[in-house]
């Protein structure tokens, strides 16, 4: 009896194997030999893969409940958070494991860079890895858009602004990105398709290539000073050494991978349970220019760099830097594919790594703590200082209301309260003329959004009239210079219904 079962099962397996070649495909994955000294340094790649798998699983579950339409996205997240059993945990896991994945990818990449594992014959592995880094970041960026809240608007706003600055085709690029001139329903559908179909598909394909290359070239040994990579002899030497001293991946190296991945899993699970899901922050309201500069951590440094850069060079840097960074990363193994691998013999590489890490770290840290970051609830919780309202005309009072309502104080302080991203406006009436104020409000500039289309001419006039009364001596201006003549601006349409916006 048992015999015949064995026979049937064996037969079935044999049949499957002969048709699919599954075992002969998987076996090398399990048995391929890896260098004996490949210790804990090598676990980060596996951990990245594990977090990606978690993203796939939690992502599929979330996709079954998430409504990718501008009208329903926010509500559906509320629904997942509050009504689906453990829905919040699912969102939390997806969010924190995505952060963990970025972290693992970055550490993995640092290790490969510092140990110069990208040298011959693993150049292609590095390049695929760089593409995977971009895929990971793109997934994180598009993922933060899925929350469809104010942060999402901010991320998109910056992205659209960057696109807009490309010469000649800028407008078209922005339209492609947003699905129209403005952030709207089409934008969300677009990013949803990217986030759940295009990018994961691409990532899985690239991971496949990355793995195939590992099997083909083997993983590198720990670098030793004096052990030089020479493309002519390297492959033969490596194979010789692996044959002599290597160990099979299963169970030797895999054990360490599993222990580390397990620990990371527990950590991220605990983090998710303790901190809960990320966002969504406030409901996005398309009529309010959102000033929340809190993109997710991975992008905080970009934001800080933009904020600190002198406006004159911003466009140039925005357009020139990204291609340079991409080319430098991709081209690195071609520029240096032979020679020493040990960090102690490559001071230039180590110094540049430390430099880059410090700059990125500092920028991120500044993004977190910076005093110039907006105060998001300023528009509803910080009263206009009463002394700035004494003796003002009704129009100037409306100007004070425009300033609150348009969230100027998220970035600008009055009476010492408010954001510090832009200069304080306590004394702006004596610094700037009427025309300069109008231009600043309509056209923005220097990290201030252009309010042009978002404020009617009456609103612009009112807020400028209010600002002209903000002077050192605190004394109000006796008249509004030329307020009546100044409504020549093109927009004479009735005031949009602001109180109803976004409902």
């Amino acid at each position: 009896m048992i015999r015949s079962i064995q026979k049937i099962v064996g037969g079935l397996l044999g049949w499957t194997e002969s048709r699919s070649g599954l075992v002969s495909f998987v076996a090398p994955l399990v048995t391929h030999r890896v260098p004996r000294d490949a210790k804990w340094w090598y676990v980060f790649g596996s951990a990245s893969l594990m977090f990606f798998s978690i993203q796939v699983v939690t992502g599929i579950l979330l996709a079954t409940m998430y409504a990718p339409s501008a009208a329903e996205a926010y509500q559906s997240l509320q629904y997942i958070d509050h009504q689906v059993p453990f829905g919040w945990m699912l969102r939390a896991l997806h969010a924190w494991s995505s952060n963990a994945m970025i972290l693992m990818v970055v550490i993995h990449m640092s290790q490969v860079f510092l140990h110069a594992s990208f040298k011959f014959p693993r150049e292609l592995m590095w390049m695929v890895g760089v593409l995977l880094l971009f895929c990971t970041l793109a997934l994180a960026f598009t993922g933060q858009i899925m929350r469809w809240d104010q942060d999402a608007y901010w991320g998109l706003g910056i992205g659209a602004a960057i696109m807009d600055r490309v010469p000649v085709i800028g407008n078209q690029l922005r339209n492609v990105m947003l699905g129209g001139p403005y952030i709207g329903g089409a934008t969300l559908s677009r990013f949803f398709a990217l986030h759940v179909f295009v990018l994961p598909g691409l990532t899985i394909a690239l991971i496949g290539a990355h793995m195939a290359l590992i099997l083909k070239n083997g993983i590198s040994e720990m670098p030793k000073p004096g052990m030089v990579v020479d493309p002519k002899t390297y492959v033969a030497e490596y194979e010789e050494r692996i044959k002599k001293t290597g160990v099979p991946f299963m169970p030797d190296a895999a054990q360490r991978d599993m222990v580390f991945c397990g620990l990371m899993l527990i950590l991220v699970g605990a983090l998710a349970a303790y901190l809960g899901p990320v966002g969504p922050s406030g409901v996005p309201n398309p009529t309010i220019i959102d000033a929340n500069p809190r993109p997710d951590y991975a992008f905080l440094w970009i934001f800080t760099a933009l904020a600190l850069m002198p406006p004159q060079i911003e466009t140039a840097v925005l357009l020139i830097a990204p291609p340079i960074v991409v080319l430098a990363l991709l081209g690195l193994p071609l520029l240096s594919n032979r020679g020493e691998r040990a960090p102690s013999r490559r001071p230039g590489a180590v110094i540049s790594y430390v430099l880059i890490a410090t700059v990125l770290g500092t920028l991120t840290w500044l993004g977190v703590v910076s005093a110039w970051s907006p105060v998001m609830n300023a528009w509803t919780s910080l009263p206009t200082p009463p002394q700035y309202l004494v003796g003002r005309t009704p129009l100037e009072m409306q100007g004070a209301l425009v300033m609150q309502h348009s969230q100027c104080r998220n970035c600008h302080s009055l009476g010492g309260e408010g954001g510090m991203r832009g200069p304080n406006l306590d004394n702006v009436g004596s610094r700037k003329s009427w025309d300069q104020l109008v231009r600043q409000v309509q056209q923005g500039g220097g990290n201030m959004p252009a309010y042009g289309k978002n404020l009617s001419s009456a609103e612009t006039t009112a807020v400028v009239a209010f600002m002209t009364t903000l002077r050192n001596d605190g004394a109000p201006e006796s008249t509004i210079p030329g307020a009546m003549e100044r409504q020549s601006s093109p927009d004479q349409a009735p005031k949009p219904v602001l109180g109803d916006a976004g409902k």
Partner: protein, 251 residues
């Protein structure tokens, strides 16, 4: 497998500590009026002034005003704002952070799995509690005045009779229509100003004045007028119609 168990356990422990994104244990429980004032500070004070006075938008800490507007209209404005004006509605936001005892009950019910409230339902209740708290804090002994507050229940206005009312009752402070010359209280016929304020806003301004800024209410006293000269509901409608007409003439 064991790993998975640990994760589940960790998740479960977290869940017990949290239940949902709103943790009732973490919220401070206050009396209705305290909670309302804190919500006011968070959501309204920027425009209506720190203590409900001396803001850019109208004074709300005024018992008779609150009584005249009425609970229902106050809830509706908190939820939907003033359409066409700068008063934002909070209906779609979850902005209410401090909850009172009665709200705490709402939140407990929300956790009760048998009956989960939608955000809209929850907000409707919280906004009602907010307005009740506000009425407790600022509306004590308030009495509704005899003249209707809402433009919808006000008589239709006549701009030309309004012009006469303006000339006698308002001009000494606000200047002749269409001038931007210095006047004590600033122009109210500036077309830009009129494009920003609603008819309701104008009616409320004339009816209740701006006590915090020296603008008289319907009951006066008005400069150069007998001390018992008051404005009627009709006169108020007329003057509002007149102010509107000055803006449309311009355009």
């Amino acid at each position: 497998m064991m790993l998975f168990g640990v994760i589940l356990a960790a998740g479960f422990l977290g869940a017990c500590g949290k239940m949902s994104a709103t943790d009732p244990e973490e919220t401070v429980v206050l009396t209705g009026s305290q909670a309302a004032l804190m919500n006011y500070a968070q959501n309204c004070s920027a425009c209506h002034g720190a203590q409900g006075v001396n803001g850019a938008a109208r004074q709300l800490a005024d018992a008779n005003y609150l009584a005249s507007v009425g609970r229902q209209a106050l809830i509706s404005i908190t939820t939907n704002g003033v359409p066409g004006g700068f008063c934002p509605g909070f209906g779609s936001n979850d902005l209410v952070n401090w909850i009172s005892e009665s709200d705490a009950k709402t939140v407990t019910e929300q956790i009760d799995k048998t009956r989960v409230k939608t955000v809209a339902e929850k907000n409707a209740e919280q906004f009602a509690h907010f307005v009740d708290g506000l009425l407790q804090a600022w509306g004590k002994n308030g009495a509704a005045i005899s003249i209707p507050w809402s433009v919808r229940s006000a008589p239709a206005g006549n701009a030309s009779s309004g012009q006469a009312v303006y000339a006698t009752m308002c001009q000494s402070c606000h200047g002749a229509p269409g001038t931007t010359l210095a006047s004590t209280a600033g122009s109210v016929t500036d077309p830009n100003y009129l494009r920003l304020i609603t008819d309701q806003g104008l009616r409320s301004a004339v009816l209740f004045g701006r006590p915090d800024r020296g603008m008289p209410s319907w009951s006066g006293p008005f400069p150069n007028q007998a001390p018992d000269r008051t404005l009627s509901s009709q006169e108020i409608s007329d003057v509002v119609a007149f102010l509107r007409s000055t803006a449309s003439q311009k355009q």
